[in-house]
Subunit: 502 residues, 2 copies
Amino acid sequence: MSDNKNYFNEILEFMGKIKDLRSALALLMWDQETYIPKGAHTSRANQITTLESLIHSQLISKEAKNLFDVVEKCKLNCSISEQQHLKLFSEELERAFKIPSKFIKELSIVKSEALDKWKQARSESNYSIFKNIFAKLIEMKIQEAEFIGFKENPYDAFLNLYEPGSSVRMIDPLFNELKIETIQLLKSVKNQHENITYNFLYKYYSADGQSKMSRFIAESIGFNYINGRFDFSVHPITLALDPKDVRLTTKINVKDLRLCLFSTIHETGHGIYEQGIDSSLYRTFAAEAASIGIHESQSLIWENMICKTLEFSEWVLPHLKRFFPDNLKHVSHFDFYKAINKIQPSLIRSQSDELTYNLHIILRYELENALLNNKLSVSDLQEAWNEKMRDYLGLIPESPLYGCLQDIHWAFGDVGYFPSYTLGKLYAATMWKYLRKDLKNIFKDISDGNFISIKEWLADKVHRHGKMLTADDIIRRISGEPLSASDFIDYITKKCDRIIEN
Amino acid sequence: MSDNKNYFNEILEFMGKIKDLRSALALLMWDQETYIPKGAHTSRANQITTLESLIHSQLISKEAKNLFDVVEKCKLNCSISEQQHLKLFSEELERAFKIPSKFIKELSIVKSEALDKWKQARSESNYSIFKNIFAKLIEMKIQEAEFIGFKENPYDAFLNLYEPGSSVRMIDPLFNELKIETIQLLKSVKNQHENITYNFLYKYYSADGQSKMSRFIAESIGFNYINGRFDFSVHPITLALDPKDVRLTTKINVKDLRLCLFSTIHETGHGIYEQGIDSSLYRTFAAEAASIGIHESQSLIWENMICKTLEFSEWVLPHLKRFFPDNLKHVSHFDFYKAINKIQPSLIRSQSDELTYNLHIILRYELENALLNNKLSVSDLQEAWNEKMRDYLGLIPESPLYGCLQDIHWAFGDVGYFPSYTLGKLYAATMWKYLRKDLKNIFKDISDGNFISIKEWLADKVHRHGKMLTADDIIRRISGEPLSASDFIDYITKKCDRIIEN
């Protein structure tokens, strides 16, 4: 075997070990959300910190550096797929090398204080408690962007972490177009939807019924219990230890059927993606989603495009009546379809409908971008938030609890993550358009509860590739073009009409 | 702060990190026995191997070596408890330094092959399939003993791993006395117990009833669900991530009430020990059992001494009748007491009663000792086994499945572990003797289902100390003497009589 081949195998083995450790980390996190004893939360936090820092120390170890130094030589007689593995390996190591360990420790202390202050600020409904530490955090994020490096805008450094290859230059026009069209559409839709009844979704639905329902729905749309688990937690999550060990959770609220039903479908979409990654990529850095946005597209295409169709309502309603014999007796699938699709602006992002959700994201995107470019001061954040909320959604939060303190992301130091949610919607709309072109019987299949062809289409175009393709590759291979906002605008406009027609 | 104090804190932090990683490892193992998806077993094996080898590499790292080198200096102005922490730290590192990494890898390959061959040998009931690889394994264990080091007997190197401070010189007289007395006692008891009825323990007992029963029993005798969990698995185990996260499992067989009841009590004994370790020892190497034998003593004192009394039967039977309303209707607590205590020699160690169990262990101890000292060849093992079995228990296995292939320990490369089971019985008998002296109302308490004073006594004498005391310290503090076999012989002789009297 040539030296290069040996090196390549060593690099693969190194990635395998990192992946094993990340799987162990994922298990610690999954257990924390599901089966951990009450008394063990403090020790769990220590275990997670230790394992995270150990993984980091492996990435910046001498062994890693030695392998990093032979990557260029290795690439010379490698296949294209091997080259992609080497690229992912280099990128991961570069990111780890770039940020000094001392800075990571300092940042982690500030983050931890930010989280405490955010909780305190929420309990007192007072943004100013969070303000100073958040200013410090933003200052450090600007420093972090310098470490990571960027061409045009410090915000790009973070966008790239979640959405490799993206930038303000790419996102700005998409989000601007989407914002204008959404605000316009919302004006006409708001009144039309006002009279849609959805109270029957918020009657008493037994925990046992919801538990059976969610397991049934996950399996029906394609989640595989041989290579995964389905449990219940306070926050619905998907954690993949590897493609053969994918763990979903959903949340049960006995007075909210919609929450459990659509959280389940959402997480199942994520789970089917993780389970669909080709087994040849196991224990490599390519055994992951192409980007956070692509990951979101896989939950959203199921949650919104497929499972909020009239045909899905037609299929699912008899099953729901089976799980909840006393509820939904006089509800038709038209009623159900309208109820789950009702457009109604909300102050809270996580409770928003398919149309207005994007305005919440665009608002956060604009604020983050302004903060990182010193165009907005943390002191003025609350007012800026409220102003945009009024302009975009026509609502003004009476308390920062329903305003700029509602999300945990900033308190965690996560900046640049939000845009992936809306990019996910745009990716999903484009996929939905071409999926419908390719699968002629799709609506018939959905009303029959036959989801195999959809799952196979997504597996072929998206899942199996893992990180061997970028988000841009995936979209161009589907549509022949880079991502645009028009497929989503077209989709949501038609859908808003259709809801009223039925 | 002085330099020494700084070093001491660094050593504590180092131990804390190792403990965190071992907790993560314990979670991987617990999950493997309980909630892992079927498809994930191969990837789990990789994760466990990676984490184990990473922990080892931390123990032999330059950082560890640097800390090891300052231990002697550190000890100078340390308290006694700090010195014990430093001692445990040094011992752990020494063990890791002594065995070359290359040897560990080779041994792990041989172990893995041994496990395969053992499985194959079992499926074909043919010891000779296992023989050659086992000979290789024994050869490597002799080499390993040389690496670890010993004064008199290579077997001591392994005995010390599980029972620090023990040796063939210490164990030989104990086991010889026990063997002679047991064989003698068995002769008279065997016939006396022949007519005891126990069929009612092997009727159909519903899984649901057993599940409720086992959770109730564990809680009643003192397991704390705030700092632990209770689940079900094929092999009952106790895995402690730390004293606030202790996880028990038990096994349900719907045709065997005894198995679930006493597995539950056994594992609960282990679990109460782990939960009782003083919180000041958290994240140190002292936050562990004093020895495997002491760990066993804590399961056995509950399983045999406390929960096989007539008084326990008196308390537990009405509860069992509650969980299984259709069974046990005409069974009195005298019947129950006799049935669970019936002495009946068996070929299988794990199915043996309180008296004959030790003969199984002594047989294995003698064979292991002979193998490691080249006084017995692997080729002659099966015959030697069968001969001893005939001499000690009066039984001859018709197949090696019920003979020398019955335990997985040797296939795992575990040599020197078995004696801890019997040492555990001897420790437990001494504890039981002094516990009864200290707690005047103990039998009344047991028949009332009040186990608090017992738990507190054990916590005070054993649990809270973790590894701050050795097994020998613990026993001497209780009895004023080193371990002897006489307390157990005395206990079991009286018990055998009592069973017949009632």
